[in-house]
Amino acid sequence: MLLFPEEVTTTARAQAARRLWKSSRHLVPVITLLVVIVVIFSATTPYFFTTSNLIILLTSNTALWVVAIGMTAVMVSGAVDLSTGALVAFLAILFARLLDAHLPGIAALVLTVLGGAAIGGLVNGLLIGRLHLSFLLVTLASLTAFTGFVNLWSNTQSIPVASAVTDNIAFGHLLGMNTSILIMVAALVVALFVQTRTYFGRDIYAVGGNPVAARLAGISGARTTVAVFAISGGAAALAAVVEIGRSSAASPTVDNSLPLQAIACVLLGGASIAGGSGGVGGTALGVLFLATLGNGLSLSDLSSYWQGVVTGVILVGAVLLNRVSDGGLERSLAFLRRGTASAASPDPER
């Protein structure tokens, strides 16, 4: 059949290129924004575009990067995990206590990640996936409960940690690269593989896109939900260890802005709050955007309060830009014009 193999390969290549363009079209706004702010900061702040600053930019956001990748799995499945901040603090104390019990660093790391996955999957995941409780309620409850636990367990005191493992993660180099940057790359590669090359990856999109259709196609929504919250819990554990490395102590202070920042990154990356869309590639760009914005603004002489205001405004603008690019804005404007009448109209065709 293949009379002209060269021709077949070129069309296959053209098709692959077309697919890549189509599948990454929703990333255009965030890439554009990223390029714009990089250009602005490079032009206005001499120190910004230097190797040492870019390394700081990345290594100071490793925890957010990892948490945001876990959050992507949760959000594509149609939920949100608000408990991440409390879990990070709790798992940091767990890690420190495991080291105190004279466990080798690597074993403590593995146990902490498994513990995070178990808490995420068995507490959040089972309550949401199996008992069908609202994810907002469940993750808010576990946020509150684990904030309590972590303070009881640590007597609200930080635990100093001196371990080769955490020092290596924060400051070490591997293959001539900062270990924490390597962790970011590895996390992204694994997540991309799961997302695009496994049945589980497809399940997450199916469950988030249409839970009824997924159930009728024999996909277990409960199992998928447990798995995505386990991923989010495991990511929280990894973030906890990274943070310990940076400060050489396990802090019981809960940073509740962490899950909110992660949610912002996932949305910036083209996900919908309703689930079924988005992906870790977009999320990574979202984290880069937020990280660059924070880094650049703090290099400029803007007061930290103004930095918050600017970040908030730009976030809204970025998400609006996302909607313009899928034509969602036209739809919402048309909706405003037509009033509530269109909300009631049935639409049997599309």
Partner: protein, 513 residues
């Protein structure tokens, strides 16, 4: 009561003329008329499912805007561009799905909107309650206005909705299949209320599938078929037979589908046997059996239990008693997963809501069932999948640009082919379909039918529920008629039954309540 006003242009209360409305490729209305001769009449609207009734009522109540046509109220052209406008003209609708707030009281529901009485100190609850009670009195209904609506029976909730419509100075009240959720006794009470409304000068547009009801209460009727008004006028001009004939239309007798080798297959053991299956509020001791290669049709009105029967067999609806046997083995589906494992397939009626993940790619939708047994961390074999997908796309003639595009980019007919194809890819023994060609254009419909016949010819047993009788007559070997959760009739299509006999069986109210 000269409803013949529709013909000569007399002063009718309401006149809807030459209405047309398309949804994508589907022409829901093309030249529909509806005339209400005067105030204080009950006007019946009847037609098969899909004939355009809901669209026509949607336009009259301001929820839909027609593509063309005119609406004349009291001799003046009006634009009913929103439900608020329609209400302003005194037109209110009580829909099939009751739209009330279950956690509010009867009084709050009746006066929903901005019509609770307010004084300087906020809402005056005493006066508001009195006003709500007065409206219910006007209907001759005795109901405590302080009860929560969730504690009411369905017929009482319906009264609350009617009372709400009346409290807005309604002149034309639309009741869309109000009796479908009522028993005979409750329906009689509703008719009392309709008589009361008539005396008070309110006109009622009454939609029902039950001919006996229509003949008991209407003064004039409109019959719709395929989006057109095919008959209208005073009820005296009609007999039940002439209404049925108008609904069914002069369609050519569908080609008999008796395919070759059918009698040989009759010897084979049944693929699916359902015995005395019951489900709360849905099914009442339903029995049927299905052989490999056979296509069995389920006919019945909405709420007759034909959809619910499929859900019970597929494990997505609770069964209270009865047995299901597949290929001689007992089948007790607890979830769709277990039903799929047993070799069942189910194409649900709502393509976007239940059948497909429309934001997902054509590839992932087509492969979703065939791969449901795989280990979740396994990697899909892209080459093998490509081959299966290419075969499916060719066999089903799915018109697409790229299998990685989201399903939402396809036309309705091609989406439906994906919704069916994802099941065929898994090689099921029994395929159940609910409304297999809803919202699909004529050409794609023929392709879907050919596909289903092909699946049967390859040995699958098909169970098809449809509200389109011509579809069932053209496709099925046998047709089972259901009314109110029971099987009331079975017809072999080789004996050439016609639409009229089926409609007659479906529109009879069973004696038992």
């Amino acid at each position: 009561m000269t409803a013949a006003a529709s013909a000569d242009g007399g002063p009718a209360l309401l006149r809807m003329r030459d209405l047309a409305k398309r949804f994508g490729g589907v022409r829901a209305l093309r030249g529909a008329h509806l005339t209400i001769p005067s105030a204080g009449v009950v006007h019946g609207l009847i037609g098969e499912n899909g004939s355009g009734k809901s669209t026509l009522l949607g336009i009259l109540s301001g929820q839909l805007t027609p593509d063309s046509g005119e609406i004349v109220l009291d001799g003046q052209g009006v634009a009913l561009s929103s439900p608020t406008r329609a209400l302003g003209h005194g037109i209110a609708m009580v829909s099939q799905e009751m739209a009330n707030a279950p956690h509010l009281t009867v009084a709050e529901n009746v006066l929903m909107g901005r019509r609770l009485i307010r004084s300087r100190w906020g809402i005056n609850w005493g006066q508001s309650r009195e006003r709500a009670a007065a409206v219910l009195d006007r209907l001759g209904v005795n109901l405590d206005v302080d009860l929560l609506v969730r504690d009411l029976r369905p017929d009482q909730r319906q009264m609350v909705e009617i009372a709400r419509a009346l409290s807005m100075d309604t002149r034309i009240l639309i009741l869309d299949e109000p009796t479908s959720s009522l028993d005979n006794h409750e329906a009689a009470a509703l008719f009392e209320v309709m008589h009361t409304l008539k005396r008070q000068g309110v006109s009622v547009v009454f939609v029902s599938h039950r001919l006996d009801e229509l003949f008991a209460i209407s003064e004039s009727i409109t019959v719709l078929r395929d989006g057109q008004t095919v008959a209208e006028g005073p009820l005296a001009q009609f007999t039940p037979d002439s209404v049925i004939a108008a609904m069914a239309g002069p369609r050519s007798a569908a080609a008999s589908p008796v395919h070759a080798g059918w009698s040989a297959r009759a010897e084979r053991p049944a693929a699916l046997v359902v015995e005395e299956l019951s489900s709360p509020r849905a099914l009442n001791r339903v029995s049927l059996s299905l052989r490999p290669g056979e296509i069995l049709g389920l006919a019945g009105q909405l709420g007759s239990g034909r959809s619910e029967l499929l859900e019970c067999i597929f494990g997505s609806r609770a069964v209270s008693s009865g047995t299901i046997t597949m290929n001689g083995e007992p089948h007790r589906p607890s979830t769709p997963r277990s039903a799929i494992r047993a070799g069942l397939a189910f194409v649900p009626p709502d393509r976007k809501g239940q059948g497909l993940v429309v934001s997902g790619s054509i590839r992932s939708n087509l492969m979703s069932v065939a791969t449901h047994g795989k280990h979740r961390l396994a990697t899909p074999a892209t080459r093998a999948e490509d081959k299966v997908i290419a075969e499916m796309v060719a066999r089903m003639r799915i018109r697409l640009h790229d299998v990685e595009d989201p399903v939402s980019t396809l036309s309705g007919g091609n989406q439906q082919k994906v919704a069916i194809g994802k099941w065929l890819a898994s090689g099921p023994q029994v395929i159940m379909l609910d409304e297999p060609t809803r919202g699909v254009d004529v050409a794609a419909k023929a392709e879907v039918h050919a596909l289903l016949r092909g699946a049967a010819a390859q040995g699958a047993a098909l169970l098809i529920s449809s509200s389109e009788l011509s579809e069932l007559l053209g496709l099925c070997d046998r047709i089972v008629v259901m009314v109110q959760g029971r099987v009331v009739d079975e017809a072999d299509t080789s004996t050439n039954p016609n639409e009229e006999t089926l409609i007659r069986r479906m529109t009879m109210t069973p004696k038992v309540t």
